[in-house]
């Protein structure tokens, strides 16, 4: 899976550079998030702007990261959702759970 992680102060930004986030590759994103949490990261932003398709496994990995961040008194936020990806968050009501921003810059401004 093509992921790029960048530090921005105490926030880690993970760029998911894949067209699909699904049952085939989403565990790798979970592994990367868990690595960051174990290193002491509390705040993660995931940029999904290159992701055109997400399934229940991809959503589940994001929920797992959200819960993990919450138990560490941190946060996991999202940005760059394409229309079809956003529709999956709405279908599963997860748009009410996550803080979702248009861009990385917009997310940074809110912090």
């Amino acid at each position: 899976m093509n992921l790029k992680t960048e530090a921005n102060g105490n926030l880690m930004v993970i760029f998911v550079r894949e067209e699909r986030l699904d049952a085939h590759n989403s565990e790798e994103l979970k592994t990367e998030m868990n690595r960051l949490f174990e290193e002491g990261t509390k705040y993660i932003l995931i940029d999904l702007k290159e992701v055109r398709f997400i399934d229940s496994s991809g959503l589940g990995v994001l929920v797992s990261g959200f819960k993990n961040a919450s138990t560490r008194q941190g946060s996991l936020k999202l940005c760059g959702l394409q229309t079809q990806v956003k529709s999956m968050f709405e279908l599963t009501r997860l748009h009410r759970v996550f803080d979702i921003f248009q861009t990385v810059d917009e997310a940074l401004e809110s912090m």
């Binding site: 699909r20 699904d22 049952a23 085939h24 398709f53 399934d55 229940s56 496994s57 959503l59 589940g60 990995v61 929920v63 797992s64 959200f66 819960k67 079809q84 529709s87 999956m88 279908l91 599963t92 009501r93 009410r96 759970v97």
Partner: protein, 142 residues
């Protein structure tokens, strides 16, 4: 003029084929010249349903055995989409799968696949057949 497309696909029981199967569903939806609704939304929904159904067969029915096979039959006419996913595993009780919890304080990582399929299709059935099980999903188009 007869305007039905039928496709019968067999792939190994591995998640690497999810993308291929999903894209086939998308391309089939785009061939529906007479469909009056949002064809791109329908193409996305077919990609989602095929992906979820195949993951379900791989993990829960075929118990992640990479030597098994998943067979998928797709039939699309101007009136209806029918998708049948065959597995050769032990199967599971679809009626015992509850909708996911929507309370943000009680979120579960898993358990959204069947809910998503039920939300996007008109009917969903899972039943035993000789040598395995079949997940049958239908959606009216007209």
């Amino acid at each position: 003029m007869k305007n039905t497309i039928k496709l019968d696909i067999k792939v190994p029981n591995q998640t690497r084929y999810l993308c291929l199967i999903g894209k086939i569903g998308e391309d089939m939806a785009r061939e529906l010249d007479h469909f009056k609704g949002d064809r791109e939304a329908l193409a996305h929904h077919l990609n989602v349903v095929l992906t979820e159904a195949m993951v379900n067969a791989i993990r829960h029915a075929n118990a992640a055995d990479p030597d098994k096979e998943v067979e998928i039959r797709i039939s699309i006419s101007d009136k209806e989409i029918s998708i049948k996913v065959y597995d050769s595993g032990q199967g599971f009780d679809i009626t015992a799968i509850p909708d996911p919890c929507f309370d943000p304080a009680k979120l579960d990582d898993k358990g959204r696949g069947i809910f998503i399929i039920r939300s996007l299709m008109d009917s969903v059935e899972y039943r035993k057949i000789k040598g395995g099980n079949i997940l049958e999903m239908k959606k009216a188009l007209a």
